[in-house]
């Protein structure tokens, strides 16, 4: 479980997040949604420690991240897996080497065990035949899968996913979403997904957090999302033509 308490973040004089309070449950896909530039990625970066918050704290299973010393943070980070929007795969390493990278840095395993674990992760995301290729030689969808395989290599307790569907076709997006959902259940991770893709939200979200105007504007489940009469939330979720059709169908019912 991850808790965010009274978190605010400013860059210079510009406040991006104001007094955010949220609890992200274990074993659930927690999706943070919001318009581009609303601060959802900044919130995720504050949670993982890439940005220090101006105020407030982040608790991992009750332990304050920002009160931890360097070694404690290092240990905690070995329990975090993250899939980046850009995938952030290492270009000079093959797919297999990318997945093995965190194992080589931290795991106390033999080379053979590392290979087996990496191969298992690649099989889990259904790209076992691509191990010898370099990231530039595979498609965007496959790169996402490699990113997920690398994120789960160390059997993480916490999984962060930043815009998993950006640049992907609708079918591949669904495959990636389902993979995130399955992995969350399999590893019982606290999963936080940053997205503005409503298809993804309607497909896999267990708990939804809507960031608007620097604040946590709304929080709820999928059924609650569609029934909400929050004006800003309605504007956001029904902005796309597909969701407008859903809205019409709901009204006619």
């Amino acid at each position: 479980m991850i808790e965010v308490r009274n978190l605010s973040k400013s860059f210079g004089n510009v406040e991006v997040l104001h007094d955010i309070n949220a609890t992200f449950q274990k074993g659930k896909v927690n999706q943070i949604i919001g318009k581009s530039g609303s601060g959802k990625s900044v919130l995720a970066k504050c949670i993982v420690g890439l940005h220090a918050p101006t105020k407030g704290e982040v608790l991992y299973d009750g332990k304050s991240f920002y009160a931890m010393d360097k070694d404690e943070k290092k240990l905690l980070r070995q329990e975090i897996g993250m899939l980046f929007q850009s995938n952030a795969l290492f270009d000079s390493l093959t797919v297999m080497e990318n997945v093995m990278f965190p194992l080589k840095m931290f795991a106390t395993m033999s080379q053979r065990e590392m290979m087996e674990r990496a191969l298992f992760c690649l099989k889990r995301v259904k790209i076992e035949g691509q191990g010898k290729k370099f990231p530039a030689e595979i498609s965007g969808g496959m790169q996402k899968r490699v990113g997920i395989a690398r994120a789960i290599a160390m059997k993480p307790k916490y999984l962060f996913v930043d815009e998993p569907n950006s640049g992907l076709d609708p079918q591949t997006s669904i495959v990636i979403d389902e993979l995130i959902k399955e992995i969350t259940e399999e590893y019982d991770t606290t999963t936080i997904v940053i997205t503005h893709d409503m298809n993804s939200v309607m497909g896999i979200a267990d708990e939804i957090y809507f960031i608007n105007n620097k604040k946590l504007w709304w929080q709820g489940t999928r059924p609650e999302l569609l029934k909400s009469d929050n004006k800003e939330l309605q504007e956001f979720i029904f902005a796309g033509s597909l969701m407008r059709e859903v809205q019409k169908a709901m009204k006619s019912e």
């Binding site: 993982v48 420690g49 890439l50 943070k73 290092k74 240990l75 905690l76 980070r77 070995q78 975090i80 993250m82 980046f84 929007q85 850009s86 952030a88 795969l89 290492f90 990278f101 965190p102 080589k104 840095m105 931290f106 160390m154 962060f160």
Partner: protein, 246 residues
């Protein structure tokens, strides 16, 4: 941002770089790779420059000392002194700052803008140490060899140009090269080389590590890496010369 801010952040980055590595074997493997990329692959340009620079020093020295009172071997002596004292350690280091420094800044800068450094940090890897330390060790180990090769080739280039054009005899040139040789000047040159190698690696890595933005900013970081490395090398050259030769 102020100069003091950058100096402070530079030394804080160095603190991170020299903190305890996660896996020594991985760092060593990366160091060997960097020695090849940053050192061995620079051998061609260093050799070419050294040969021609030695040749030019010989011709210019000869054409500028017409007096019969000055012995012929002065040409060889001048080539040796200028090569070992200044040309090989300083000018070649400035050239390497262009080649190696821009490579380092571009590589690390690209990793920064493509979130690869964030990925390392989130995994718990000391990104500064993992990326920068092997480059510092590699350049500090390999650059002295490059500079020694440069010294030999420059002196050889001078001999080749002098004897081929007939402006000096081989024996006179060799006599000059051997005349009044103080081995300390080689020590002085190698101390400078190691210091300059560390400057090139750290200043360039600093520029790359703190790149923000996109590909344009990576280009800007590369340019800054070369310019600032050159400036710091020139200032340090003056300070070291005063400390070690006076």
């Amino acid at each position: 941002m102020s100069l003091l801010f950058h100096i402070g952040r530079y030394f804080m980055l160095l603190g991170e770089v020299f903190s305890k590595p996660e896996r020594l074997s991985i760092y060593w493997k990366r160091t060997v790779e960097e020695m090849d990329l940053l050192g061995v692959k620079s051998l061609g340009i260093v050799s070419l420059l050294s040969l021609f620079m030695g040749a030019v020093i010989t011709i210019q020295t000869k054409t500028n000392i017409d007096s019969p009172l000055i012995p012929q071997y002065v040409v060889g002596f001048t080539v040796r002194q200028s090569t070992i004292l200044e040309f090989s350690p300083t000018i070649i280091s400035l050239i390497l700052a262009g080649k190696v420094g821009s490579t380092i800044a571009a590589e690390i800068g690209s990793m920064r803008v493509r979130e690869q450094i964030d990925a390392l940090d989130i995994m718990g890897v000391n990104s500064a140490g993992y990326l920068i330390l092997p480059k510092i060790i590699a350049t500090a180990l390999i650059n002295p060899f490059l500079i020694i090769i440069s010294m030999f080739l420059s002196i050889f280039g001078g001999w080749l140009a002098g004897t081929a054009s007939g402006i000096i005899s081989s024996s006179n040139y060799i006599q000059g090269v051997q005349y009044d040789f103080d081995p300390y000047i080689v020590t002085y040159a190698l101390i400078k080389t190691v210091v300059f190698a560390v400057i090139i690696a750290t200043v360039s890595a600093y520029q790359g590590y703190y790149t923000t933005g996109g590909t344009r900013e990576v280009g800007i970081s590369s340019t800054k890496a070369v310019v600032y490395s050159d400036v710091v090398i020139l200032i340090t050259n003056y300070l070291l010369t005063q400390m070690l030769l006076l």
